[in-house]
Structures are given as C-alpha cells and as structure tokens.
C-alpha cells in the first residue's frame, strides 16, 4: 500500500474484470481526493458503469485493489456495507421508490440505523423531520412531498434521487448520467446543485454531455476500453489526440 492510498478518498489500482471473455475493465487505476468533484467521460462500453459497479460492490473485480477512505478494502464488502460506509450512487435511469411518496423516499434514505428492528420500531423525530424538510427544499420538492414518486416527471425523479443521496450523507457520491433526458434549463440547474453538493463531499460524475461537464469546470478522466485514456482539465482532455480518436472524433 503506497502513500496515495492513505491520503486519497477512493483508490483503484489495476482493476480488471471480464464478462464471458469481454474485458469490461482492463487494469484501471483511478484516484479521487477528499472533497474533489470529478467528471468521467468515455464512449459506450468504456467501463464507466462497470467501474461504479465495482466501487459500490455490485460486481467483484477479477484482480486489482479498491480502497476507500485510506484503508477500507471495498472488494471485501457488499452494497449495503459500502453504502453505510458513505458511498452513494445514482443510477443512469432514475431509480426511486415509485409507490412511496416523495417524503417517504427521503425518509427511507435518511442516514439512520438500517437494521430490521431499528426500522420496525423507528419513529420520526423532530430532528429527522427538519432534516427531511431541508433536503426537500434543497432539491425543490417541498410542494410535491405528498405525491407518489411514480407521478413525478423524469427530471423530478432525477432530483428526488439526488435528494435521497443527500439524505444518505455520503462521503463520496457517484452520479451516473444525471442530466440524461433533461431540458437545458434543468441541466444547468443540476450542475449548480452538484457543485453545491461537492462543497461538502467528493463527487464523481459520469456524463456524455460535454456542455454539462464544461459547466462543472472540474478535472476530467476519459475512459476507453476499460482503462484511463487521459486525465486533466476539460480543455486538456478534449485536445488529447487519443481522446479525439476514441471518443470525441466519432
């Protein structure tokens, strides 16, 4: 374990995984510092979602190391453990609890004890109530708190999901294509929201929308064929000939 592992929040080294012979990740190495907002771009099949699967414990790597917060080996943990360690994840397709109200969605996401009996005997405290109201305000859903999540629009579901992640109070937030299917206005607003969130925690955003990434104005990592192609500012990366050939050029 070198020095980097102990100071970085997330540390991936030489991670490989393959499905039925197809190498989804090929010796990927990647580091996120505390408080960093990082964007990841890359063509389809570059391994972006697989990387998130590895970090969140959904997929086990064939080889390589994944450390969180210095010395916590994520490859030995499952999704629930990792979520409780403080890694939140937003899916590509907005995934909320459709048959619950907006309020209940946030309440379920709240960072409280998550055992069977603690939930069975859980009662809403005034503190929790205030916290939920705060989050609803942040994601601008206060007016719709009693509506079923199923009745929300696509963009509203995206925000609700982000709200749920906030309620989870993660140290690291993984966000997969947060603005897919959003209007320009919504996209811009989402950028603001993410930047605000990144003030208190690390965020990794996977996105195709170059305009959006430009809005974020942060360090960019470009993945291709399961490994890192280039890393740096958006201008640096978008001028890299390899990136142009592999991704932007097409």
């Amino acid at each position: 374990m070198d020095e980097k592992t102990s100071t970085s929040l997330l540390y991936l080294d030489g991670v490989s995984v393959s499905f039925d012979g197809f190498k989804a990740l090929n010796s990927l190495s990647f580091v996120v510092e505390p408080g960093e907002l990082r964007a990841i771009i890359g063509p389809n099949g570059a391994g972006k979602t697989t990387m998130m699967d590895i970090i969140t414990g959904k997929t086990r790597p064939d080889s390589g190391q994944v450390f969180f917060n210095g010395d916590i080996d994520l490859t030995k943990k499952d999704e629930a453990d990792i979520a409780q360690l403080g890694i939140g994840r937003k899916f590509q397709k907005p995934t909320v609890f459709e048959s619950h109200t907006v309020w209940d969605n946030i309440e379920l996401a709240l960072n409280r004890k998550r055992g069977v009996f603690s939930t069975l005997f859980y009662r809403l405290t005034p503190a929790d109530k205030t916290r939920i109201e705060e989050i609803l305000e942040t994601v601008r859903m206060t007016a719709r708190k009693d509506d079923l999540a199923a009745n929300l629009s696509h963009g509203q579901k995206q925000w609700l999901e982000i709200g749920m992640l906030l309620a989870q109070e993660p140290k690291l937030l993984l966000v997969d294509e947060p603005v897919a299917g959003m209007t320009d206005a919504e996209t811009a607003e989402t950028a603001i929201l993410l930047k605000e969130i990144a003030k208190t925690r690390s965020v990794v955003v996977v996105e195709h929308d170059m305009g959006f990434i430009r809005d974020l104005g942060v360090k960019v990592t470009c993945l291709a064929e399961g490994s890192v192609l280039a890393e740096g500012s958006i201008d640096f990366v978008s001028n890299d000939p390899k990136v142009i050939e592999n991704y932007l050029g097409r």
Binding site: F19, D20, F22, T49, T50, D53
Partner: protein
C-alpha cells in the same frame, strides 16, 4: 372372519394323480398300438376340455408325445382361444366361421349335435407354458426360421431332459447361427440336468457362461444346487465373472435409463423453455398442452384405425404434425385471447394460465371421460433388444431420438430462420423490434403457438409411455419448471443439459435411495444448486441481465 380354509391343495393333488394315470394309460395304449391314425388322439383332444388345469396340462403333454401331425394345429387353436368344450367337461369343438357354428376339433368338419353349454377353453400360465414347450418340440424342425428360433428359446426355458434327443437331431441339421446358438445353449442346460459325463458338463457350463447375460446367471445359479461337487468351483467362478461384467453393464444401463428419463424431461420441458424461458410467461397450462397432444394422438390413432387399418403402425407419423398444429393453434388462441393483455406482468400470467389449465382439464374430462384412453405402441416401438449387457427398449430409444430431433429442429429454427430472428428481437426489446417494422403481436402469438405446439409433440411421445388421461399434464408441469430453471431461463442448451443431468442423477440415485427418496434428493439438489448459481446452469452474464 376366521376365513374358510380350502382343502384345495389336497384335492388338486388327488386330481393330478388321477389325471396322470389316465394320461399314462392313454399314452401307453397309443404307443402300444403304434398307430398314428388321427382318431387315436381324439380322447387326448377331448381331455383338453377337462375342468381342471392340471388335467389339461397332462393332455397337452400327451398330445405332444403322440407325434401326430395334427397336434400343432390343435394346440395353436387352443392358444388362440378357438377351442370350446362343455363347462362340465367333455368333447372339444373348434370355433366356426359363423356365429354359433362349431367344427370338429380334430377334422375341421362341421360338427353335428353340439352340446348347449359350450364355453371357451380357459388357459392359465401353467397351461400356456406347457403348450409352448409342446409346440416347441413340434416346430423345432420347422422350415420357418422364426418358428425354429421361438421353439429353441422355449426349449431353453423349459429345459426338459426328454427333449435331448430331439435337440441333438435338430442341431445336426441347423444352419442358422442364432438358432443354433440357442439350441446349443438349450442342450447345455439340459446336459447339466442329466447324468452326462463330467467333461460334457464342464463344456456345457463354459458354453452357458460364454453367453454372459442374466439368463446365463440364472441357469448357472440353478445348476449350482444339483451339480456334482467337482464342478462347483467352475460354476462359482463363472457366476462371479458374469456378476462382475454385469455390474459394469449396470453402470452403462443406468446411464441409458438416465438418458431416457432425461429425454422425457427434455421433451416435457422444451416447450416450456419457449413460453416460460423465452417469453417469460409462467405458463401453468403447459402441462395441459402436453395432454392435448396426447389426446390428439389418441384421436388420430382412432381415425387411422377406422379409415385405413393397414396404416395403424404409422399413425404416429400423422399424430406428430397433427398434435403440433392443434396444440399450436390452441396456444395461439390462448395468447390472442388472454396472454397478450398480460405482457410485462409475468406473475399474473401464472394466475390466468392456471385458470386455463383447469378449464382445459375439465374440458377433456367432459369430452373424453375421466378414464385413460388407450394409445397403442406401434410394432416398431414395442419390445427390446440387447447390446452387450444393455437392454434397450424400442420405445425409449425412439423417444430419445425424437426429443433430440425436436431440440435440434428448434435450435435451427431459432438461430437460422427469419422467424427465429424476429422472435429473439421481440423478446429482447419489444419496442425496438416493433419500431423496426416487426409485427410484434404476430410474433408473440406465433412464439407462444410454437411453444405450445412443441408441448403437443411431447404429448405424442408421452402417450407411448404414460397414461393418456386428463391428469397427464399435471404430472409433468413441476418437473418441467425444475428443468428449465435448473438449466437457466432463456437458454435452450441449459434446458438440454439440465434435463439430461437431472435424468441421469435421478437414475443413479434410484437403485440406492429408492424412487421416492431419490426424487426428494434431486429436489434438494436443485434448491442447493440455485443457491450456488442463482440463475441456473447456463446463466447469461453481464449487465443486460441485471436491468
């Protein structure tokens, strides 16, 4: 309730002795006069009309010993149930062509003055055995090879030392290898029973041991009892070696049984692999489709038998397409009327198809009645043959061939045809397929029809080994689901491997654990296996599956 204890045993003994004496007298008188005139055997023929089986058996033996050329015909008539006698015993008559007309059993001339209380002469197993032995003596020299083969086999079974001379003379002129081998075996068995020289007996033992099958084991085991002491070690050695080789064959036999069971499971499950595996419909009416196929076979067989009786052996050839089309159409009907409203709600298909299965079962019960229907095995699916120590029955063999044939045909259809391509497209991405101009409702209906049609074909095969009753489908539905799930939903190869694995595993467990426990163990195995591989044997990997 202290039941009536019959004294039949004594009575039987008494009768047997009596009959034996009568027969002996007749025999002696026959031989003494040396006459072969047909009238001389008339008392013997009439003795066939006796009221007790031991008497009849004696009469048969006496007839055989008479050497009269008419005897073979008479005994054949007896076997065929054409001979009649008064219920109280007495003269024997031959059934005439017309109703109520009787002929003289011996001459075949119309009989006059027939008694009123004639009844068919009854046979039992003992009598049938005696007739077989008697006929074998008479037909051993027949010009017909098949007759000689049957006769020699009967002699081998009967192994009566009295026939030794006859066998020797038959052996001298026998040319056919198989018949000769059987005769030699029969001779060897008889030799063991006589007081032939030790050397002859030794040769006989080797001769029998060389056959190496279970029959040989039976003969040798029986011979152990009255063999001279110096021969016993040789017999024991041969018994041991036959047992060893049979044990090895047993393994092969179990694999065969397993393949056979597996092919039945495959047939039953393969239609489900389409409707459930590919389309995602929890099709509880699948078993009823199999049942409909079996009933189609019955109807086709009845029709063929009434329209073209000569073709009955080939009625299955008509039944297979008929069952496919009929159940396929029923399937399309079900899909169009019920299932098409339920796509995307797989669990509700369970409910609806369960309802459909109840309706279909009761419909069949109302139309055909609740009892079994008789579906005959064609002659080419009856009987068995032996390959080394393997006993292979024709019906099982054809079912294996048929199920593999269906599997390959289906695979080709899915992988090579346009319909197969459309079907895979629709099941993978309905909206995309539809926007590319595929008529998805049409493809859905045909796919369900295909799955149902295949189930119907399975019904044709199952009608050959199982009951054709309204409950037929219920017996296979659970096993079918187990196979599809074990193999991995949506993977035809999984279904194949799953069916064969479960079949063979079951057959290997059965001799040790018994049929009931064996099946329980298989179910537990499936449960544990699914824990290890939650998506079956041939699970699809990657992210497409997760969504």
């Amino acid at each position: 309730m202290r039941g009536v204890k019959p004294t039949e045993q004594e009575e039987l003994m008494y009768r047997a002795i009596q009959t034996f004496l009568v027969a002996l007298c007749l025999l002696v008188s026959c031989l003494a006069t040396g006459l072969r005139a047909q009238e001389d055997i008339r008392p013997l023929v009439d003795a066939l009309g006796a009221t007790s089986f031991p008497q009849k058996i004696e009469a048969v033996k006496a007839l055989a010993a008479s050497g009269n050329p008419k005897v073979a015909d008479i005994l054949q008539n007896l076997t065929d149930g054409k001979l009649y006698a008064p219920k109280t015993g007495g003269a024997v008559y031959l059934e005439g062509a017309a109703d109520g007309a009787y002929l003289d059993a011996l001459t075949g001339a119309p009989a006059n003055e027939v008694p009123g209380n004639l009844a068919k002469i009854r046979l039992n197993n003992g009598l049938r055995g005696a007739i077989g032995a008697a006929l074998s003596q008479l037909t051993l020299l027949s010009p017909d090879r098949a007759a000689r083969l049957t006769a020699s086999q009967d002699l081998l079974k009967d192994a009566n030392p009295d026939n030794l001379a006859l066998l020797n003379s038959a052996l001298a002129q026998e040319k056919d290898a198989e018949v000769k081998a059987t005769m030699e075996a029969a001779r060897a068995v008889i030799l063991l029973k006589t007081d032939a020289s030790a050397e002859d007996k030794k040769a006989a033992i080797d001769m029998i041991a060389a056959r190496g099958n279970r029959d040989a084991l039976t003969i040798l085991t029986a011979a152990m009892d009255n063999a001279p002491d110096d021969l016993k070690p040789a017999i024991e050695k041969n018994i041991a070696s036959i047992k060893t080789s049979l044990a090895a064959w047993d393994v092969a036999q179990n694999i065969w049984y397993g393949l056979s069971l597996g092919s039945v499971l495959l047939l039953a499950a393969i239609g489900l692999a389409i409707t459930f595996g590919v389309m995602g419909i929890i099709n509880m009416a699948h078993g009823e489709m199999v049942m409909l196929g079996a009933y189609t076979t019955y109807v086709v067989q009845q029709t063929v038998a009434s329209v073209a009786p000569g073709m009955t052996d080939y009625s299955l050839a008509f039944a297979v397409p008929a069952a496919f089309l009929f159940t396929g159409l029923v399937g399309v009907g079900i899909e169009r009327s019920v299932i098409r409203w339920l796509y995307g709600r797989p669990l509700e298909t369970l409910l609806a198809t369960w309802g459909i299965s109840l309706i279909l079962q009761q419909a069949i019960r109302t139309i055909f009645g609740p009892t079994n229907r008789q579906v005959d095995n064609p002659s080419w699916m009856s009987g068995a043959f032996e390959v080394g120590g393997l006993a292979i029955t024709y019906n099982r063999m054809w079912i294996i061939v048929f199920s593999l044939g269906v599997f390959v045909a289906l695979l080709l259809l899915l992988k090579r045809s346009k319909f197969g391509l459309q079907m895979r497209a629709v099941t993978q991405n309905r909206r995309m397929a539809s926007s590319m101009g595929i008529r998805t409702p049409w493809v859905d209906a045909l796919t369900f029809g295909l799955g149902s049609g295949i189930a119907g074909m399975a019904g044709v095969a199952l009608s050959q080994i199982d009951n054709v009753s309204p409950n037929l489908g219920q017996n296979y539905i659970i096993d079918s689901f187990m196979v599809v799930v074990f193999g991995g939903v949506g993977n035809l190869w999984g279904t194949l491997v799953g069916a064969l694995t479960l079949g063979i595993a079951n057959k290997f467990l059965e001799p040790y654990a018994g049929a009931v426990l064996g099946k329980i163990l298989i179910l537990i195995f499936i449960i544990l296996f699914i824990q290890r591989r939650p998506r079956g044997l041939f699970a699809l990997k990657g992210r497409a599956v997760e969504q």
